[in-house]
Symmetry: C2
Subunit: 418 residues, 2 copies
């Protein structure tokens, strides 16, 4: 049982849009035991699309196509599908009604003419309803194979997958060789990829049949993905557990979470368990640290608020950073980072206060404090505030992101006494 | 002149990692006139990689491969490349020295054994230095075709492209059919894709030979990409200008920027020109709006700071929101949104104050105020603060993102009197 994902759109080839649809489809198909064999991305050109359809339909069991179902002239996928399977196009009345309703509900006096085309369906194709957009999905089945075409707009594609496609595929291929495939990812920080591999040693001593281990570095985080294939949930779970335990024995202190956990979700959980609270004071990250923490559902249990003190006046007035210290050491300094952390902690009455002050660039660097210089401060009630200096490489966005992750890791280490 | 990008890695197929490398490569290759014909993603499996190499090497002029050059057991790309081209592997002494140096510089007593493999090079391949990581890139040329393999870690891949590959390709294919390809994207908001297409009308009246137009919707933004191919920079620029003017004549008021501009960069520019300043007060977005604004280089000219008032106590103490109003109307209300916007504006002494209070979910919704209910407040010195209610569909992250974009658009419309 294997699948190919075909993503259509010039915007993907010229680098204007990142192909997140393939990521979503890979995850969802894997969950129901269908491994993705290949992802092919082609432009809005009939010849390239036809070649991709031909190859995928010959080699794979399931083909999922996204993109090119919109109402405008550059959306040609449906016409190419009809040609490829030798089908006529026919108006599908219920779809047209649904599209008209969508427009009237949105307050339009009438539906734009161009949307009529979205209700034209190749004969023999099943229409997959779309409650969050105008373009329905289409499904065709022949000789045990399945061909699906979906809109390229991510939330529409996801809605149709969830509403109909995943159920269809699960029923259609139940008992026909669907393997159980499970992944589990151990998240580490504070150690590089090669050093981690040395600690873990020979993978043959760690793995079992059906299991593989992959290293996914993204500084300052290295993820270790364990993948297991097998006949039953039970067998796969047992193998997974064995592998995970053998790895944990070797690198326990570097692991901060698993799978989709983030540093911030691990921290929010621990703060909640220990009934502690946190606030942040941010300069160069401008709210990004607070935004990371509040991305965790239920963060309000532990996060009280933040002061983004972009302007030095705000550091003085709102965070009680002394004017003299600012003048003497500069805004990007150990002293100011400590005062910011302690200032916000006291102001909002939290257990911890975390601060970031640095030079994100592209300008503002000096010889003594080049772009990428960042001080991270940590205050804790009953302790003296501390601050640590970092020098990050990369553009403004990379410096801001790394500052945020390292601030979170600094807090994690303090909470766990590492 | 066409190229294929081959991305290698199970993590891409199972949906664990988004393929941003293909996006980067598509952009950079396009800039030097090499159009990407196809992107193929395959897993860390010898058979699949070999098949992808074979097809690409037969059909394309340039093949760029990323991934599988790391030091761990799952990195097999280089061995497969050597096999595909029938080459032996040989130790490349300068590369080994460079890797050793990297480790000693990073404070390691010795280089991990596993990194020696990264200095093994297939004979006949050119070594592409990598100053930001341990794996060098490799380049092979034969019969006018070029095959390049690069590490999968994005900033290493980008560094090598910039340092050597782009220069090599430009020199190698100069005068050999490199076309000029240019894209320009008009960014619109406040109107849907179909309605925009109706206003623009028949594309035949808009375009010229060599030009295409594509619609890229991502609510609440629709991007219009104009692409032009031609023989010279001058001809392409002229065509581009003509097409852009004809489009602007029809939809001027919906356009807020071009290309990589963002709502926030457009706003920062306008605020700077009008010598205005801005501050934000955020509840459910928890700093995301401030983080968006401060992502713009030079935002400090116009952005003073933010108060993230996640806790109601912080709304009362720091933003002067009255306890009674909070009790009577709730934190997610028109009154509180207005008070938050005016509160932060006064506190930080800015021209504008922008506030967001809402229910991002997944919990916290009620019948009267379901998840996705968001009030956005806007205060301006000399004006009465206003607030507008939104109801966003989607998960926590989508609600937070849409709240942020709509807040920015509300500010943009006010600044431009729309």
């Amino acid at each position: 049982m294997k699948a190919e994902i075909i993503s259509i759109g010039d915007e993907l080839l010229i680098g204007q849009v990142i192909n997140t649809n393939a990521t979503y489809l890979g995850t969802r198909l894997g969950e129901i035991g269908i491994g993705v064999d290949r992802v092919t991305t082609v432009g809005d050109a009939k010849g390239a699309i036809l070649r991709a359809f031909k190859r995928a339909w010959a080699e794979e069991d399931v083909v999922i196509v996204t993109g090119g179902l919109g109402p405008t002239h550059d959306d040609i996928s449906k016409a190419v599908v009809a040609q490829f399977f030798g089908k006529q196009m026919k108006l599908h009345a219920p779809t047209l009604t649904a599209i008209r309703k969508r427009f009237s509900k949105a307050g339009y006096a009438k539906m734009p003419e161009s949307n009529i085309g979205q209700a034209m369906i190749p004969t023999g194709f099943q229409v997959l309803r779309n409650h969050v957009g105008t373009a329905p999905g289409l499904l065709y089945s022949e000789k045990g194979k399945t061909f699906v075409i979906l809109p390229g707009v991510p939330h529409e594609m996801q809605w149709i997958m969830q509403d109909s496609v995943l159920k269809y595929l699960r029923n259609r291929y139940k008992g026909k060789g669907l393997e159980v495939i499970r992944h589990r990812t151990l998240l580490t920080t504070g150690i590089g990829e090669s050093s981690l591999a040395e600690l873990i040693g020979d993978v043959k001593d760690i793995l079992e049949p059906g299991a593989t281990l992959a290293y996914l570095p993204k500084s300052p985080i290295v993820r270790l993905r364990i993948s297991v294939r097998g006949k039953s949930e039970r067998a796969v779970a047992l193998t997974m557990l064995g592998v995970e335990i053998r790895i944990r024995c070797k690198i326990a202190k570097f692991i901060y979470g698993v799978d989709d956990e983030t540093l911030q979700s691990a921290i929010v959980d621990t703060l909640r368990e220990t009934q502690s609270t946190i606030s942040t004071a941010e300069s160069c990250t401008g709210g990004l640290l607070a935004a990371h923490i509040t991305s965790v559902p239920g963060a309000s249990d532990v996060f009280k608020g933040a002061v983004v003190s972009y302007d030095n006046e705000v550091k003085i007035r709102e965070l009680s950073v002394s004017k003299n210290i600012l003048k003497k050491h500069g805004a990007v300094s150990e002293e100011v980072a400590r005062l910011m952390a302690e200032g916000v902690r006291k102001k909002l009455g939290t257990t911890f206060g975390l601060s970031i002050t640095g030079i994100a660039g592209p300008t503002g660097g000096t010889r003594a404090k080049p772009v990428g210089t960042v001080w991270i401060g940590l205050a804790q009630s009953g302790h003296k505030p501390i601050a640590k200096r970092f020098r990050f490489i990369g553009d403004r966005s990379a410096v801001r992101e790394r500052s945020t992750i390292n601030a979170l890791d600094m807090l994690r280490r303090r909470i766990h006494d590492l």
